[in-house]
Subunit: 127 residues, 4 copies
Amino acid sequence: MEFVNKDVVMVYDTDYQGVAHYASYYRFVTNALYAFRNAYLDDLVEKYGIWFVIAESHAVYKKPLHAGEKIEVKITPKLLSNKSIRFDFKIYRSEELTTEGYLVQVAISKESWHSVELPEEIKKILQ
Amino acid sequence: MEFVNKDVVMVYDTDYQGVAHYASYYRFVTNALYAFRNAYLDDLVEKYGIWFVIAESHAVYKKPLHAGEKIEVKITPKLLSNKSIRFDFKIYRSEELTTEGYLVQVAISKESWHSVELPEEIKKILQ
Amino acid sequence: MEFVNKDVVMVYDTDYQGVAHYASYYRFVTNALYAFRNAYLDDLVEKYGIWFVIAESHAVYKKPLHAGEKIEVKITPKLLSNKSIRFDFKIYRSEELTTEGYLVQVAISKESWHSVELPEEIKKILQ
Amino acid sequence: MEFVNKDVVMVYDTDYQGVAHYASYYRFVTNALYAFRNAYLDDLVEKYGIWFVIAESHAVYKKPLHAGEKIEVKITPKLLSNKSIRFDFKIYRSEELTTEGYLVQVAISKESWHSVELPEEIKKILQ
């Protein structure tokens, strides 16, 4: 399963070196995760009262991105365990791979903040 | 009453134009308000269970700021009403006034999110 | 002339109070300005080698916004002088006005950073 | 070699979940790198006309951080190659390790944006 989100590098993503600041790339990935969840998981997340928290983030920066550039963020979700999901991401400018990495998300209970098992309905979507 | 907070313009405050992004100046002001509250109000805010929310923000940008520049943020709190405080701010680089403006904060109840009267103890500090 | 940009409040726009951080609203306005420039001004800005810098920002916060809420940012550009443009903005959640304010932008030369007169072609678009 | 920077989690670092947003941790690390460079490298960086760009970022989030919490960011720089430095980081709240990871920085020429060898004077400091 692969999910693609189109995005644009904004002026506030850049810094005085003229290109996107390294931490801004996580904004692009967050946007893609939001779009993915919005498309597939929002109702289930609501139904089961779970939240996701980020347990790990990783990015390798291959090519700098500039303000105004159009990008595609491709994410590939994978079940990592009964409680966690890994989202591999690749950021493309046209056909060029500019950045890649991953996020690990863990499901927690909104109330206790303890990790919880992912409901079967969510696991099915991620398989 | 005037309160001064020393700060530094960071790389993530700037954008590709090479100077601080206009919205980043509010980060400097937020930092100064935090330092002011930390010095004078934290115990009282805790005691009375109030939160502050921003009701208005305003900034006039006179001189651009660059990454690494040391600044002084001077804030002058004033009671605006029984429920709100206005913080005038001025941002200096050495003797030079670079930015000025104000924030208006309203006291609310953490529980109801309705505006509440500022306790006398807090008003006294602000007078 | 009125220009409308659709947007979404993202998780990184919010803070621990559970609603959008006051400075994040300027991100929504920056997005709307970007969309406006992209639609009307990009070629001219390129042709004349001008940049815009923000000279003033102002916002009045009427209603809090939450993560995931869909908003419409309406901007109304007005020539303020031969060198500057004022963008009044209003942020709506459905029919509800949540925020309003304005930005003032000044045209500068990319090279000298001095303010420059707006080309007639740009003025015409803004009238 | 270990370098420690004291910092505070600010309200704008948090999101509606009530704790620091995962990308904000890179702000704490950026602050620590800035303090390190300010203490050891600024003159040399100026002298040799080099810039640093981030080639890789990684963080493992063990414990959530809240607004107002005081933290210590410990960074350990290591030469990774003739052109790149790895900064391992650990973020502590009192004695508790909350976050760890690393950044890789590559030296580039300001003019060409090509990677360049680190000057001996800089290598010596990092050894």
